[in-house]
């Protein structure tokens, strides 16, 4: 379903681009027929460069990929893969807020977008103990939720396809993420059938500050698409969909077992990379003006 939405969005952008291009080519013909005066040349030159400042925010979903798996429990008489962690991707919603500073030059923008990002992901694993009597068994389910806060420092190149009121763009770049905080929530539940009947239970969650278990920083690549809509009063509305593709390990290789509480409940972080898809809404303001009336000429 998500893939369908993505295809639909790309289609809409392509259609908009096409329409805007047609409109612009018509306008260009008219323009060619009329001579530019000196003022309009100066304005065009002025509009070749612009600084933009904006704010945007929205939800995000995360996915992790396991590079190397680690576990506290080491089985002696069963296959270790039976207790491997099962990750659930794009299941827990996080959020983010971004300040955007962009420099526009001839259709391209260099954009720096410091972001506070709260990411969440979850995994679970299961342990079973069996008696010779089949009904006598105990099952424990461990569910771990990780909440990570990062200061993301992305550097992007954007390209505006059109120069009308609606300006779709594509963007790509790199980012560095600095870890601000991390919390791990472990919930143990299970079924105990050893007492003569099925006794289902769920323990109180164990909540542990786990910043030491994660790398202080990681980096990745970022790409996305978006739309700017010029409201005509120096404000651009911005809709942005971006995908962060983690390139380095987010777990601390040195402190993997440093939390005695989490090691005690049998949890050890895998080596992971973190991907994140974010949808944001926001607005942008120009910082260069033609006149004291804050006119930018960018009123299309």
């Amino acid at each position: 379903m998500k893939r369908r939405y993505l295809v639909l969005l790309l289609f809409l952008i392509a259609a908009t681009v096409n329409a805007q291009e047609k409109k612009r080519s018509g306008a260009d013909k008219k323009r060619k027929s009329a001579a530019y005066n000196k003022k309009s040349k100066e304005d065009d030159k002025f509009l070749e460069k612009q600084w933009w400042l904006g704010f945007k925010a929205g939800p995000n979903l995360s996915k992790v990929s396991v590079d190397k798996s680690y576990a506290v429990v080491s089985p002696t008489n069963y296959d270790p893969s039976t207790i491997d962690k099962t990750y659930k991707n794009f299941s827990l919603m996080g959020s983010q807020a971004t300040i955007e500073v962009s420099f526009y030059f001839k259709g391209f923008l260099i954009s720096f977008q410091p972001t506070y990002q709260r990411s969440r992901f979850e995994y679970s694993n299961q342990f079973n103990w069996m008696d010779t009597i089949p009904e006598h068994n105990v099952t424990l389910n461990y569910h771990q939720e990780q909440k990570l806060s990062y200061a993301i420092l992305p550097l992007l190149v954007k390209y505006d396809f059109l120069h009308g009121r609606l300006r779709p763009y594509v963007q790509a770049g790199i980012y560095s993420a600095l870890l601000l905080d991390a919390t791990t929530i472990v919930t143990v539940s299970g079924v105990d059938q050893a007492s003569g009947g099925a006794n289902e239970f769920k323990n109180e969650p164990v909540i542990v500050g786990s910043k030491d278990l994660f790398a202080k920083s990681h980096w990745g690549l970022l790409g996305g698409v978006g739309l700017n809509y010029n409201l005509g009063n120096n404000v651009r509305l911005n809709f942005d969909v971006s995908y962060k593709y983690g390139m380095s390990n987010i777990s601390s290789t040195k402190n993997r077992y440093s939390s005695d509480r989490l090691s005690g409940v049998g949890d050890a972080m895998d080596d992971l990379t973190l991907d994140n898809v974010a949808v944001t809404l926001g607005c942008l303001f120009p910082l260069r003006f033609l006149s004291s009336g804050f006119k930018t000429l960018d009123k299309k």
Partner: protein, 411 residues
Amino acid sequence: MISVMLKKYYSLLLFVWGVWLLAGCSEKSNPTFDQQNFASIFDNSKFDASYFPIDMRETPDGGYIVLGGRRLSENSDFAGIYLLKADQYGKFVKEIEVPASTGVYPVGKLMEYQTKYYFFCMDAQSLQAQIANVDALLETVSVTPVQGNLTYPAAASFANNNFILLSYNNNDKLSVISVLNTDGGILKSKGYDIGVGSDDQIITEKYVIEHYLRTGRQWPFEAGVMANGLYYFNGFYNYTFSLVFTNASSDEPSNVAQGQSDKGGLSGVSYLGANKFALSRFSYGNNYFLPGKDIPGGDPASSDFGGFTLPELVPDAPVKILQAKTDTKNALVYASNTKSKQIGLYFYEQETGTFISSRYLGFSNPYEIASLIQTSDGGLAVCGTTYLAGRFPRICIFKISKDELNGQLGQ
């Protein structure tokens, strides 16, 4: 020309440099870290499987051998022998469940001599002490009966290429200290009356037998030798749980740090040199640590030794003491069981006996101490029992890196 190109591709170079910088700073897998620091719980999916560790040694390949006991059956008197091999990352490699016909009731320490690891056990029928050994890869277990008639092994150590064994003679109700060669030949042996008594309050034999059957309290038996050649054992003597010093020949001990029947005594003994010991003691449920104690002559009472009180420990807690060395400091590490079901580690300066720091291992499930060693990389390895799902006894190992140990010692 080059400068022109550099100017032209300035942005690209800056980008590449940025990526390179980010990649260089990123967290990378490091097998060394995985060896220096880990936590492992060795699980068996059988409902009725029950294992408890006794002692642990690091093997030349960087892995670990754990000597443990296991439940044989519901009706068996004694625990069976269990051996486990873990690799340098703490992952399970191999286990041996030694058949009861070979031996039962394993006793520490697990002692390294040449290329083998030795421990004592007992013949299930004759109850005679046996010397068992295993290689570093857990290929084969060999058992040699101890010559003479030493029964019920309780504790052992290795010094000067000989074993020092504390055993129990149930016929004559004696605590027996013996010096054995590696073939099981007795070089010296002497028994001392445990003081059976008729008083219901002091039925010493009952305590001893319940210890072997694991139906009662597990007593912190210990045996060793001092620099002056005197042997010592921590065991029952004259109605009390006492630290007894003897030349293993004389009818009377040279000195005795007396306990108070089963209510007071020493729960941990580690010889430091000369006349000095690192001790811990129990007294009517209370626990005290004594990091550096000269044992006075004249049969002193251990209840007069004082010490740091540890109210967080379980009553009459088992205590293991390790002499640990860092680059600049000699330390004593005490390990014991806390009331919060964790393994507590307490770090002291060896020279002054000053407390430095503490650390607690385990959470959620109960954890109990069995053994701790200093590893060849300068870190610590702590072996214990945890109860998975709150009920299944399983062996666990915590590996603490050298850096963490230095941090605990304030370096």
